[in-house]
């Protein structure tokens, strides 16, 4: 039988450290994601920036929930799905799609407690 540790308080503290690390990682990744999103209009989504943004969204969609940020995971999944479509297309990224991408990034930022437009 698997026993749970008796040091619950210690474990919760460790959890807080992990969550802080997760948020710090999100902050760095979001800053990079905004920078990548801003060049999509000129570069298109099929380049490195589009792929990186898709990968960022995919990873966040898979990991946010386990840290207690399920709603971030849902928004990240929307961003991932949008990026999948855009990466497949040959057309340049439209102004409408750009607005959508930045809006999804803003929602993620705000939900994680960062400023919209990119964590400072």
């Amino acid at each position: 039988m698997i026993k749970r540790s008796a040091h619950k308080e210690d474990l919760e503290m460790l959890d807080d450290d992990l969550i802080a690390d997760f948020l710090h990682g999100c902050k760095l990744n979001l800053t990079a994601a905004y920078a990548r999103a801003r060049v999509l209009r000129t570069e298109g989504a099929r380049g490195e920036s589009g792929e990186s943004l898709k990968k960022f969204a995919h990873r966040l969609a898979g990991s946010a929930g386990i840290y207690g940020y399920s709603s971030v995971g849902v928004v990240a999944l929307r961003l991932e799905n949008l990026m999948r479509v855009l990466v497949r297309r040959r057309h340049p990224v439209s102004a409408h799609s750009m607005t959508k991408i930045l809006s999804l990034l803003d929602t993620i930022s705000k939900t994680l407690g960062f400023a919209p437009g990119g964590p400072s």
């Binding site: 698997i2 749970r4 540790s5 898979g62 929930g65 995971g73």
Partner: protein, 123 residues
């Protein structure tokens, strides 16, 4: 008392760290691998009791590693696949590749512990 050993094969540290801590807190011993190469080396060095496997690794995609782990070794431990793919075809292919169960991302810590715990109840 020997703690059950779980090998976590995952290249995203945001996931592997919390999976590792959750399992350690619940009394399991864990080992981490970020690539197919590291996973095979870890299994070769010490056979785990269970493998949690992300099927999208930098040096291995799809189910090749799962097949390698389960079909080439008679004493292979059970493999739980961690993936965001929920479609039936992926799951069928996973079971054909030797997986015992699927843990669909995003999963909660409770789901993780239940999924892992069930495997040890079977054993």
């Amino acid at each position: 008392m020997t703690r059950p050993r779980v090998l976590i094969v995952e290249d995203d540290p945001a996931i592997s760290r919390i999976v590792e801590q959750t399992l350690e807190n619940a009394g399991y011993e864990t080992a981490l691998a970020e690539t197919k190469k590291e996973a095979l080396e870890s299994v070769g060095a010490q056979l785990p009791d269970l493998i949690l496997l992300d099927i999208s690794l930098p040096d291995s995609s799809d189910l090749k590693l799962c097949r390698e782990l389960t079909h080439t070794n008679k004493a292979s431990p059970p493999v739980i696949i961690m993936t965001s793919k929920q479609d039936t075809i992926t799951q069928l292919r996973g079971f054909e590749a030797g997986a015992e169960a699927f843990l669909i991302k995003p999963f909660s810590r409770e789901e993780l512990l239940n999924c892992v715990g069930v495997q040890f109840m079977k054993a």
